[in-house]
Symmetry: C2
Subunit: 315 residues, 2 copies
């Protein structure tokens, strides 16, 4: 089956570190119902499996069997074996043969695992902001930075299934340490955790500052401070935006895509982040590369990955 258009119900699921989100889709990709359960991401593989099955079964009319199940997982996957190699957000699943276990629990329904950023990219490309285009890079700007690449209408997953790690392009050799062990990665310069790190450093330097007076330092509160006129908070966003624009310029020059779609919580900072980003990519990308690329916000929000996970059964 796999690539053929099935007649029956399709289920898409996004397995994250905090939530399991799922939806039922018609054979033509219309979303019909959704389900959401907490992710017992630190308990045991069996608990996570149970949550996944609970979400899926909540969407199946009694006794029905799905024609296809797509699962986006936050982590590095062995796509051939259907196994999770490692997942920072779902540490108990490292090495877990997720596809095999799910498939037997689901009575052998066709099942497809995808990396969560790739699933979100497929969703945005086929049903969201990327629909008008043939090529697209998705950047997810959250606590970390994820990415995915669609070229010539096709998702590029890479030789080992890990393509799209735009957060781990180096934009500042010798720069700040990244969670991956390298230095100067895009994610180490602009991401939720990088902003928080820089805000903590600013607070330590200037204990009388507005940043230092925050009860908790989060990107949301830093955005509120900046919008309220705090110069230090504005400078943090300005710097982050510049680095984001630098990374976007690199993607434009290297891949020359038609669209760069921005998803994730940091996008809500709006022009605080995207203003300096735009100035940076306009200064740094080839004129023809930026003229041919639109930079757009994602359209499907938190449901992009769920929608994208069923795409392999639709096309």
């Amino acid at each position: 089956m796999g690539a053929e258009r099935p007649d029956g119900i399709l289920l898409g699921l996004d397995l994250g570190g905090t939530q399991v989100k799922a939806a039922r889709f018609s054979p033509s990709g219309e979303r019909e119902a959704v389900a959401r359960v907490d992710s017992p991401s630190h308990e045991s593989p069996e608990a996570v499996l149970g949550a996944v099955l609970a979400a899926l079964r909540a969407l199946l009319p009694g006794g029905a069997s799905p024609a296809g199940v797509g699962i986006g997982v936050a982590g590095v996957l062995d796509l051939k074996e259907g196994r999770i190699i490692e997942s920072p957000n779902l540490p108990v699943l490292s090495g877990f043969p997720l596809r095999e276990r799910l498939q037997s629990a689901l009575g052998g329904a066709p099942l497809r695992l995808l990396n969560d950023a790739n699933a979100a990219a497929l969703g945005e490309f086929h049903a969201g902001a990327g629909r008008p285009f043939e090529s697209m890079v998705l950047l997810t700007l959250g606590t970390g930075i994820g990415g995915a690449i669609v070229l010539g209408g096709k998702l590029w997953e890479g030789a080992a299934g890990i393509a799209g790690e735009a957060g781990h392009m180096c934009v500042q050799a010798g720069g700040p340490e990244c969670t991956c062990g390298a230095r100067g990665c895009l994610e180490a310069c602009v991401s939720g955790w990088a902003l928080t790190r820089d805000a903590r450093a600013a607070a330590a330097r200037n204990p009388a500052s507005a940043i230092a007076s925050l009860a908790e330092i989060t990107p949301k509160r830093l955005a509120d401070l900046a919008l309220g006129g705090d110069a230090e908070a504005r400078a943090l966003w300005e710097r982050a935006g510049e680095m984001l624009g630098t990374g976007i310029a690199s993607l434009m020059n290297l891949l020359n895509p038609e669209a760069i779609v921005l998803a994730g919580g940091l996008v809500q900072a709006g022009d605080l982040l995207l203003g300096p980003a735009r100035r940076a990519w306009e200064r740094q990308a080839f004129e023809r590369a930026r003229a041919s690329a639109q930079v757009l916000p994602a359209a499907l929000g938190e449901w992009a990955g769920v929608r994208g996970a069923v795409q392999p059964f639709l096309s």
Copy 2:
């Protein structure tokens, strides 16, 4: 015709700033004869056209008409119109309708223009170092840095035909000025011109140094000095190699290709450049990304582009 396998003679040509190189190929892609003429790159479009036609006609048995002609051109092309938008190495050809003029001179033979780095990548992918692989990034390390991307067996030319500009990924935000107007591009940190710039600066700082005593500063002479044990020259290569490895790590993380093929004159510096490069990418790329990518020297040398230019008529 275009994509079909023709019965007759195929001609490939590499139109560069100093030379026009061409070859005749059998319908199965075997090289049968070569021609080489100087490139009158600063004279006039007509002079360049004349040199191209002279090289092609030297390869055609009397009266024969080619079944396909592929031309790799150093520059930014409008692939739809077959026009050269701009070419730093062939400035007189800016705006020149090369395909139209050649096609009428060649009696309407099927003609395909490609960017020269893309042509070289097709050559290496189908007949050189990239043959065993499904995906490959080519880096040409010469005076500047060029690049090209082959994914899933297909050349990715980009929305405006300029994909592959790996030399203009930013690896050092705010770093040295690049010829493209941006700062900290890979090319501005490691390339023939960047090495020469850094060597001149070293010579100016230390007029008693071996570098300062060179009659002319070239990558070749800097390599000879470094191999002879000169610490300053070694440091220049070490720094260039580190930046090259940083760029390679970014390509591994972003594209996760099976192969990264290195072409161009700087590769002749061997371990002076590639030793520190390897240490950098091993430190900075995801383990799975570097484990799945081989970094290899190009196999076809200066004939890669000529071979690649006929590929559109072979596959």
